[in-house]
């Protein structure tokens, strides 16, 4: 089943009197349990595409269907609800709330989903446990290392059981060893049946994915499956 269907979408920004075409004409579909990397140089439109896929932004023209719902017709509240239920974000800069501990950060999407306090705590704790941070629940982000912060962010993305995980340069702020750990975590998340969309400009990161979509100047340059997919062997992290 297609989770995401995009047909001929374009995104045009008005900068002063000039129109900037961030996306010109992009069509693609993403199935359940796919592991897709979106690649491209800066200015290629990959951030715009990611914002679009993440329902943070709506296209200027074209059709975007998320699980048969037309995202283009949604208002701010519908978009917020779909982000909350269906999409788990992982950002390059982690984007945790600095003054809240790990547990509260992971709880946050459940608060907005209207989950009761008790159930929230349990689910957040088990999500943190699943990324190997059971003993760091009450640490604030500044008391955690970069890799640990990204794990908290991943736990936050997973806690609502979303349809897709959307990761924007998840290893961009990490050293290569830690980055490798995070990528193997993504691999395991994928093996558990999750759908992952990875935005990156690093070839070796993109090679973790099963399919690579290359963007250039707001158009899809190439959309291909990876033949020699890199599968990390470190599997100790997720249970």
């Amino acid at each position: 089943m297609n989770i995401i269907t995009i047909e001929h979408i374009a995104k045009i920004y008005q900068v002063g009197s000039e129109q900037v075409f961030a996306l010109r004409d992009v069509s693609l579909t993403i199935d359940k349990n796919e592991y897709v990397a979106i690649m491209g140089p800066s200015g290629s439109g990959k951030s715009t595409l990611m914002n679009m896929l993440g329902c943070l932004d709506t296209p200027t023209s074209g059709l975007y269907k998320f699980k048969d719902q037309n995202v283009g017709l949604m208002d701010d509240n519908d978009l917020a609800a779909i982000r909350n239920r269906e999409i788990g974000f992982v950002f390059q800069t982690f984007n945790l709330l600095p003054r809240s501990d790990a547990l509260h950060n992971v709880e946050l999407p459940l608060i907005y989903a209207g989950v009761s306090s008790k159930e929230r705590k349990e689910r957040a704790a088990s999500a943190l446990d699943s990324v190997g941070l059971a003993d760091r629940m009450h640490h604030k982000p500044n008391e955690l290392s970069g890799g640990q912060r990204q794990r908290v962010a991943i736990a936050r993305a997973l806690v609502t059981n979303p349809s897709i995980i959307l990761a924007d340069e998840p290893t961009g702020n990490l050293d290569s060893k830690t980055g490798e750990d995070i990528m193997s975590l993504f691999n395991q998340i994928h093996e558990h049946g999750n759908t992952i969309i990875l935005v990156t400009h690093e070839e070796y990161i993109a090679e973790h994915a099963a399919r690579i979509i290359r963007l250039k100047d707001g158009l899809i340059e190439k959309d291909e499956f990876v033949e020699n997919r890199y599968i990390p062997n470190n599997k100790s992290v997720i249970q």
Partner: protein, 413 residues
Amino acid sequence: MRHFLFELKEGLMISLRAIRANKIRSVLTTLGIIIGVASVVLMSTAIKGINQAFQSGVSSLGSDNLYIDKWSWFNNDTPWWELRNRENITIEHYAKFKELAQLPLAVAPSIFTNQSIKQGDKTVQFILVVGTNQDYIKTTNLTFASGRFFSELENNSSRNVIVLGSEIAKQLFPTGGGLNETIKIKGIKFKVVGILEEQGSWVMGNFNPDNQAFIPIDNIFKYFMSEAWGSVTINVRAPNSLMVNEVKEEAEGIMRRIRSLKFDEKNDFSINQQEGLLNEINKTIGVIQMAGLVITGLALFVGAIGIMNIMFVSVKERTKEIGIRKAIGARNRTILGQFISESAIICLIGGAIGLGLAIVGSMIIAQFDFPTTISADAVVLAIVISLLTGIFSGFAPAYTASKMDPVDSLRYE
């Protein structure tokens, strides 16, 4: 509804976290509201105190009472010289009035003079010594700490007896007692037969019964004043407040008969009532109230602007946080609620502290014999005002926050 309560609760939790995280700023912001609420509450309490003092002072006159007098308490249309030229009301007028009047519960004459009262080495000056008769007590609500009012016998034989107001007794006999003691007015000895309980309030000044002394009316003319000089007031008490108007009409008719006025002649006397006094007082207090509330309202307004300012700064500073919250599913409404409840909580805390300050302040003021008590509605007032201020000054910043674009705010550094 359940969902709303849930959001409210979570909004409050989030706001509390944010306030805790920015302690110093929250405290400074709160200061404006503390001062604003404290001054509003204190001012409204003070005004209420003044008002109550006047009301209770005036009502100690008795709401069922009429005072037939040469002079009018409030004079808007009759020139003063016309009042001055009126014939004095004499003790004979009083006697006739008493004979003719059917409706009143009690009728008594009164006339006063300012005197000093001495007892041993102590002197109380500028005392209103009221000359009246035994019926006077029936026209008032006065109560006794000890002793009694002078009797008909004592009155008719013009005995040198006196009833003292509580304040006078306190000053002459600071250690208590005083009953059956002898005091002197202009060297003339009077025996104290009664001491009143504390009655009125300071606002009535010398007209407060606490600062008055009562003696048989003939003694006034005998010792202190020529009968030709003074005009007697006829104190009339109606059986109940519903009958005040009937009593007044009857009194007017009788007085016109006594004064032999023709039908087209104007009254040459005034019938005064507590009601008129109250109206005047209410007018004055209304003006004080308006001025006071406008001034303290300004203080509150400045506090509100301070909060709004800080909330705008806070929203700007937390743009990224807003972006994160939106990305993981916070609705615009939720963000709006979060910031409004944050400013409402800051204001509520400020309001509570301000209220505390106002209570302390009113206790201090109360030391100076000024009747202030923080009442339940002052508490409610403080809470409502601070809540409304919080919502009012939090709304614009919160609205800005709720309308932020998630993509832009996530990118904000």
